[in-house]
Amino acid sequence: MKTSKNLQLTIVGIAAAIGILLILWKPSVLIYGLQGAGLYAAVALPMALILGIVGIINLAHGEFMMLGAYLAYWFSTQFGIDPLLAMIPVLISMGIVGVITYKTTIHRVLGAPELNQLILTFGIAMVLSQVVNLIATSQPRKLSLDYVTASAKVGELSFGTYDFIFVAAAVLFLAGLLFFLRRTKLGKAAVAVGQNPKGARLVGINVDRTYLIIFSIALGLLGIIGTLFLTSHSIFPLVGGSYTMKSFCLVAMAGIGQLKPILWGSLALGVSESFIMSFQGYGGWADIVFFAIIVIVIISRAYKRTES
């Protein structure tokens, strides 16, 4: 117990030292890293929710976010509304998509081997990205919004402030989910189902309905993130794929069923990614940070398991 506390203190100390060094040397790395971290955490939280409670790993996770972004694009260009306002219809539509997806597919493989679940969600990911590709073509789309270019100046340094919206979203998501899971009746029931579905059924919880609700909530959250994503990034049908892997990486780092550590994990990833991007001409390598970390995290997990 004591050693783990010491270890935690050491890690926090090292992180703080790195942070201070970065502030002195390259403050922009920290700012953009924080903004990137917000996005990653916000996308990863719904995946952690589904994995923790429904118990399946959703390989179509990033694709659902992509779908949300395209829905937001459609609502805002079709009806001429601001994408941030389009968030409400997107949230509702993604909730409905969640209900349909759960009822027609996920529900049927809950008792099936893990392999079938993985193949199924991989197939769903392909269907989503290719259907969007067929309808909207692979041409990247971007909205030009004037408030996105808002920037602030601190001393010599000027930076975009809009992307802090992802940090706000991540914190709000986490706070909202923790409140939901700890304080509300439905949330407590969901936690019970996540821990022990048989037991939950015995005490009278409708397990299937809980799964349905949690899955739809997670997709609704992805709709919100998709909308925010659209406001400051360009979107294309394959944009979601890497977010599936990045989210999984964060969820695996945090441990299944854990929500809070996702924030710290994404902070580390966001900052290290923006650190590499800050070197001119090497920006293309930034993506590899994540994949390297995925492999390292998983290997360290394997190592831990052999030890115990």
Binding site: I57, L59, T105, R108, V109, A112, P113, E114, L115, N116, L118, I119, L120, F122, G123, I124, A125, M126, V127, Q130, V131, N133, L134, T137, S138, S242, T244, M245, F248, C249, A252, G284, W285, D287, I288, F291, A292, I294, V295, I298, I299, R301, A302, R305, T306
Partner: protein, 310 residues
């Protein structure tokens, strides 16, 4: 009796496949070549699946093999056949390292790592501009066998036969029974003393060598590599859909699936050039939901039902 018929049918198919290039034109032959490519990938994917581990990294090892073959020819001036072997060896070495690291864990961790493999190497090949040609890739000065289509066809055909034989050997081995036991109930198998980890790593290496060599043959046949085409999602999704549709956990299923979908896919490419992959996605979803035993499994069930009625 039924065994007799089976042998005749198989012999007929083999003769047909060998004679194929002599009575068709260039276009059917190129289709046949791509069907064979996907067939190899589908069978090798299924070989690993039988162990209870799922790989989404077919395109990754295929691409690694392609690049290894082309680069070793460009920089080391090795003969083409040797570069194909090198493609397989490098893919196998990477698989070995990954497998030792990750195969101890639950399936989903392995699945995600294999999903990342294609991405990692695609990024490396895109960014190592001086060495790999960056996003434009590299061209070979000349094709294997001076581009003789008969010989390239037989090369891929030979690879397919080899893969099918390896797959059948694995199916008949004692390891296979142990692995089936693992797939059905890992705890039972583990407590019965089967050392699963070693076999998992070996099979992962063997299937990756096959996928790497196939990539090498493909790159040598068409004479180029680019990050987008060599690590294309097609090489993961198509074999997966083929094996599932045909029926997993055997050699026959992926072979039948590859023949069927491989021919259909050529027409799909003509009619829906962008987004034909959606069909494969739908096939994957529907097969998993409604007929997880695939066509071969379904046919066996119908035959059994018929025998019972007689």
């Amino acid at each position: 009796m039924s065994k007799y018929i089976k042998t005749i049918v198989m012999a007929a198919v083999a003769v047909l496949a060998v004679a194929f290039p002599f009575y068709t034109g260039a276009y059917p032959q190129s289709i046949a070549q791509s069907v064979l490519t996907y067939m190899i990938l589908a069978v090798s994917w299924d070989m690993l699946l039988r162990t209870g581990q799922i790989s989404f990294g077919i395109a990754g090892f295929f691409g690694i093999g392609s690049y290894a073959a082309v680069l070793s020819m460009l920089y080391l001036n090795l003969p083409p056949m040797l570069t194909i072997l090198i493609g397989g060896i490098i893919a196998g070495a990477i698989a070995g390292l990954l497998g030792i690291a990750v195969l101890r864990l639950r399936g989903m961790y392995f699945a995600i790592v294999t999903l990342a493999v294609a991405e990692i190497f695609r990024i490396i090949m895109t960014n190592l501009k001086g060495f790999t040609g960056g996003p434009e890739g590299e061209l070979l000065p000349q094709l294997i066998f001076q581009g003789n289509p008969y010989l390239t066809y037989y090369l891929m055909f030979g690879m397919a036969v080899l893969t099918i034989i390896i797959s059948e050997i694995f199916l008949r081995s004692r390891v296979h029974y142990a692995l089936t036991a693992i797939r059905n109930d890992e705890i039972v198998a583990r407590s019965s003393g089967v050392n699963i980890f070693k076999y998992l790593v070996i099979i992962f290496i063997v299937t990756s060598v096959i996928q790497g060599m196939t990539g090498g043959i493909n790159a040598q046949t068409y004479g180029f590599v680019t990050p987008e085409s060599s690590f294309s999602l097609d090489y993961t999704l198509l074999p997966l859909a083929m094996a599932l549709l045909g029926g997993i956990y055997g050699t026959m299923g992926p072979v039948v699936g590859a023949l069927l979908l491989g021919i259909v896919s050529e027409y799909l490419k003509l009619y829906i050039p962008y987004g034909h992959l959606v069909i494969y996605g739908i096939i994957v979803v529907i097969v998993i939901l409604y007929m997880p035993q695939g066509i071969v499994g379904l046919a066996a069930r119908i035959r059994k039902a018929g025998a019972r009625n007689e």
